[in-house]
Symmetry: C2
Subunit: 655 residues, 2 copies
Amino acid sequence: MSSAEGAPRRIAFLPDEVTVEVTTGETVLQAARKAGIHINASCGGSGVCGKCRIIVREGELRGGISAKLSETDLAGGIRQACTATAAGDCVIIIPAESGRSRGGLTTGIAERHRAKLHEYDIEELRRAGIFQPPLEKLFLELPRPSPVDNMADAKRVVQALWNQYRERGMTIPLPVLRKLRRVLREDDFRVTVTLARPVKKKTGGNYLVNIQAGNWTRRNFGLVFDIGTTTIYGQLLDLNNGRILAGAGDYNGQIGFGEDVINRIIFAETPTGLAKMAELATGTINALINDLLHRAAVDRDEITSITIAGNTTMTHLALALEPHSIRRAPYVPVSTFFPPIRAGDIGLDLPLHCVALLFPAVSSYVGGDIVAGVMGSGLYRAEALTLYVDIGTNAEIVIGNREWLVCAACSAGPAFEGGGITHGMRAAEGAISDFDINPDSLEPMNLTIGNMPAVGICGSGLLTIVAALLENGIIDRSGKFRRDLDSTRLSEGRSGYEYLLARREENGAGHDIVITEVDIENFIRAKAAIYAGIKTLVEEVGLRIGDLEQIILAGAFGSFIDLDAAMAVGLMPEIDTDKVRYVGNGALMGSRMSELSNHIRRDVVEVVGRMTSFELSEVNSFKDQYIAALFLPHTDLSLFPAAAARADLQEKGPP
Amino acid sequence: MSSAEGAPRRIAFLPDEVTVEVTTGETVLQAARKAGIHINASCGGSGVCGKCRIIVREGELRGGISAKLSETDLAGGIRQACTATAAGDCVIIIPAESGRSRGGLTTGIAERHRAKLHEYDIEELRRAGIFQPPLEKLFLELPRPSPVDNMADAKRVVQALWNQYRERGMTIPLPVLRKLRRVLREDDFRVTVTLARPVKKKTGGNYLVNIQAGNWTRRNFGLVFDIGTTTIYGQLLDLNNGRILAGAGDYNGQIGFGEDVINRIIFAETPTGLAKMAELATGTINALINDLLHRAAVDRDEITSITIAGNTTMTHLALALEPHSIRRAPYVPVSTFFPPIRAGDIGLDLPLHCVALLFPAVSSYVGGDIVAGVMGSGLYRAEALTLYVDIGTNAEIVIGNREWLVCAACSAGPAFEGGGITHGMRAAEGAISDFDINPDSLEPMNLTIGNMPAVGICGSGLLTIVAALLENGIIDRSGKFRRDLDSTRLSEGRSGYEYLLARREENGAGHDIVITEVDIENFIRAKAAIYAGIKTLVEEVGLRIGDLEQIILAGAFGSFIDLDAAMAVGLMPEIDTDKVRYVGNGALMGSRMSELSNHIRRDVVEVVGRMTSFELSEVNSFKDQYIAALFLPHTDLSLFPAAAARADLQEKGPP
C-alpha cells in the first residue's frame, strides 16, 4: 500500500458539483450514496448489471473494470462505480443514462445523516481506572519447596499472589487443585493463574479458576454473545486490550419452533421441550464459537470467560429455566439475576475453567440485552434525557438518565431482522442495506453488505427502501404503491403490487428480489409499534416527545442506520441528528465492556434496581398510539414537522 | 418396661463383698469386670461355653439361662453371668469353679478406671449461641404474584428471606433456579429453603442450595465421615437437634492396595491409580451411606451436608488430588484447605444439593481428622496443658492449650485397628474388647462387643489382654510368655508361644482365637512409637512428661479405653485418671460439631494456622525414645511410678 492510501481522498461528482470525502475501501457507488447522488445499480454493487457507468474526468480510480466495459469504454475513462475506489482526489461525471442530476430533484434526501457509531474506548476505561477484566491472568514465580519451607502447593500459590500482586481471599476449586502439583512442577514453579474477581469484595473472595505452567498472560480471551429470538451474534475478544478479533452471527437454532418468544415458550412447556430449546440455543452458540476460534486462531483452552446477554425468554431457555410464567399475566420470570456459572454446565463447548456470566434482566420483557445496552452505551450515567431503542424481533425502549430509568418492550415483529418480509434476511453479505431510487426511471440504487450480488433485504435496507419509495411518491402515506406509474419495475405479484429491486440474472439470490405491499404493511406495523411504545412511555412519565434530548439506537441494522429515513417513515421522533448515536448491537457492546471492567458488573446490579418496567399492554393509551402511527410517518404530521414541510407530502394531504 | 427398669440397680458379689451399680442392659459378667472380679468366660459372653456359672442368692435376674444349665441348676439359682441382667438389686455368689476370689489376688487391677466419654452437648452449643448449622432449612410463606407484584420468582424468595429471617446476600445456583417455578407453585408458594452460610460474612454470601414445596424444616440431616487409612466410619445426624441417628464403619476399600499411606500413594502414582483410589474410598463411603440411610429411615434427598475428616493422604485420595509429594521430602501436600464442594463432584451418591465440607489439615502427616479432634474436643480453647492422642494406623499427637499447639504424627502401624495381629479385627460385634485372666487356672474372661460369640480381638481388647498378661506375670516386660506355666491355654504355635483366648467350638470365628508373642511384639512396637512420640514432642517444646495436666484420647478403641491398662503397658504416661477424657472417634466428633456450628468452621482456619507441625523422623532423639519404650511399660520405670510400685514387677527387676 502506498502512503497516500490511508490519507483522506475527495471525490467531486459532476454535474451536481458535490464533493465528498471517502475512506479507504469505500466505493464510488457508496460515496455517491453518501452524497445523496443517485447512480443506477441493480445488482447490489458487484459489477454484474453494468448500469453504474461513470466517467473519470480527473484523478485515478482503482478497479471498476468488468467484461461489461469495452476497450473503447475504458479508453474513454468509463468505469463501474460499484467496484471502483479512488486512488486519490477525483472528479467523476455521472452520465445521464447512469443517474439523475440532483439539481432536478425537489424531493429526496438532500443531505444524509447517519448516526455515528459510538464505540467504547479501552483507553477511556484505563483512564477512568475501570479497566479490570473480571477474569485476569497473572504470572507467578514461586519459591521452590524445601525442608524449611514445605507449605502446601495451594498455600504457596496463595502466598505468592499476596506477595506479588496483593491479591488475597482466594478459593481454589477442585479442578484446579487436581492439577496443581503437576502444573507447579512442569516449568519449575513458574505459573500463570487465572483469577476471577467477585463483583463486590463483600459478596465473595477471589476465585482461582485456572492455572497453567509458564507465562501465558498474553493469551487471555473472552467471548460475548447476544442471544436474540431470531439471531445469535458472538464476538471473540482479546481481554488484554479489548480488541474484537472476530465476529459471527447465525439464526437462532430454535427458529424452527416459532418466530416469537411466545411460541418458543409454548414448545418449552412440552415434556422434553425445554431441554430441546436449551440444546438448540447452545448448539448455535457452539457452532459460532468454533467459527470464531478458527478465524482468530485462538485455542479453545485460552478462552477464560463468556458474557451472555439475551432477552429474558432467551436467557431462560439457554439456562433451561422454566419460562412458563413469562407468557401469562402477571408475567413472572424465574429470575432476573443469574449467578456466574461454569460454561460447561449449560452445555457450552468451552473448557472446564471457563466462567459464563449472564447479564441480569429487568422483567419478563426487558431482558439482559437491554440492560447490557444501557450499561454499554453509558445511558445509566447520562445527564441528558435519553431515549434508548433496541430494535430486534421485539423492540425495547428505555427512557431516562442517571437519575431514573423507565423501560418497556413492544412486539415489533421480526421485520427488522428480515422476518415476515418476502425477501427479508438478516444483516449479512449480500443483504441490500442501503437504497435510493431514480423517481423518473424508477431504477434502483442497491447497496449491499460486502458489495456482493444482492440476495435479500436486511433491516436497514428495508428502512431506506420504504423511505425512498415514500419520499419519491412511489408509495403513499398508507404504504400503497401508486397505480399510475408505468415501469417494468412495478407489477402485480402474488401478494399485490410489488417493486422489483434486483432481477434474477443480476443478483445472487437465484430469483427476482422484490418488495411487496404486504412487506411494507409489515414494516409499517413494526415501526408503528415502536413509535407508539416510545410515545406511550414518554407520556406515562409525564413528558412529551419533544423533551427528548438524546437518542441512542441499537439493534440489527447493520453498521449504520439512516436517521433521515428513520425519521421520514416515523420510526423515530424527529430530533437534531447530531443528538443521535448508534451503538450497533447494544447487547454485545455492553457484554464487551463487562468482559473488560468488573465495575460495569458491579454497577449493573444497582442500575437494574433503578429500571422501572412498564407493561405496555396494560397502558390504555398504547393501542390508540399504535393506530395513530400506522401511517407514514404518522397520522399527526405535527409530530413530524420536517416531514410536514416537504412539499409533496403536504400536497397529498392527510390520508 | 417397668418403672424400676430405668432406676439404678446394685449387684453385690460374694465372696468378695464388692457391690457395683449397673445400668440397663449391662450383664452380670460386665458388672463383675467393672468391679474387678474375675469370672471365667471363654466364649465372649454369649452363653456358649457355659463357664460363667453364678448363683443368685438374693434378688432376681433376667436371662442367664441356656441349654448348658440343668433343671436342678436352675432350681438352685444357677445362671450364666454372660447373658443375665439384674431385674433389681441382687446378691450374687461366684462359685469357686467359675471365678477367683479377689481377696486372694495380690496383682490384678483392683479398681478399674476408664476414661469417661466426653460428648458435646447440643444445649451447650445453644447456650453458647453457637448452634448454627452451616446448612439450615427455613420455611417461607410467600405472597402470590399479582399484576402489582410481579417480581421474579427468585426475587420473591430472596425478599421473603429478608422479611421473615433477616437473611440477605443470597446466591441461587442454577439447579435451584431450574426447579424454582414448579416448586413455588406446588404448595401455593409455601416452600422450605436450605441455606448454606459462609464461614465468614466477608468471604461470601449466603447460598440457597435447595428448595422444597411445603414445610420440611423438621427433616434436615447431615452425614459425618472419618476416612481412616484402615477403616472408614460414618454417622447420620439430625441437624435440628444434633442426635446421632445411626453409625456404621467398614474397612477402607483401598486396603487391598497397601496397609499404609505410603503404599497407597505409590499405587496412586500409576496411570489410573489415583482415580481407582478415589473410587474405592467413595465406594466404601457410598455403601456406608446406604446403610445409614436405611437404618435411620432417612431419604437420600433429605441429606443436606456431609462433613469429612481424614488424614491428609486419605483426603487427597478421596478428592483425587495428587498425593505424590506427600511421601517425598520435604513432604508437601497439594493443599491443606479444601473448598466446599458438591458431594456429587467427588463421586458421592448424594443429591445434587448436598454440600461436602472437608476438614483442613495442618501438614502432610497431621490431617483433618486430628484438626477435627482438636476442634471437637475443645483442646483449642483448653486452659490446661493438654496431650491429645489419636490412635489409628498412624498415631497423631497434639500438645498445647488455647495459646499454642504443637503436633506430630508417628507411624504406630495398624495394631490398634486389628492389623498385623493374628486374630485382630476392628471394633465390631464379636470383637474381644475387654479381658481378664485367672492367674491360677489361666482361664480367660473375654468380653465382646455386643455380647456375641468372639470372632477376634480389637484394639481395646489387645490392650487389656497384654496388660492382664503382664500384670499377672504371664508375660515378662519384654512381652515373652513365661515358659514354666503349665496350662492347655499356653502352647507353641506356628509363630512361637501363644495363649488360647477362645476355643473354636466356643467362639464365632470358626477357629481357635489366640494371641501370639509376635502379636505382642507388634503391640509393643505400636505403643512404643506412640509413647516415644509423646515424650519427644513434650521435650522438644522444653517441657517434661510430668507437666501434662490433661489427656484427651481419641481413636478406634471401641467405646471405652481401660486407662489402667494403657498406663500399665506404657502406652500412656501415668496421670491421675480423672484428668483423662476419651472422645471416641475425634474426627467424627469434630465433624459433628462442625455440622452443627458454623463457628467451629470459622475458628478452624485460625486454629490450623496456630498448629506447629513437627516431623519426628527429623528429630534426633526420637529413635532413642522409641527403643527405650520397647519394654512394658518402659525401660525407665521411674517414668511409671505406679507400675514400679507393683510388687511383682519390682521382683522381676529391669529386663
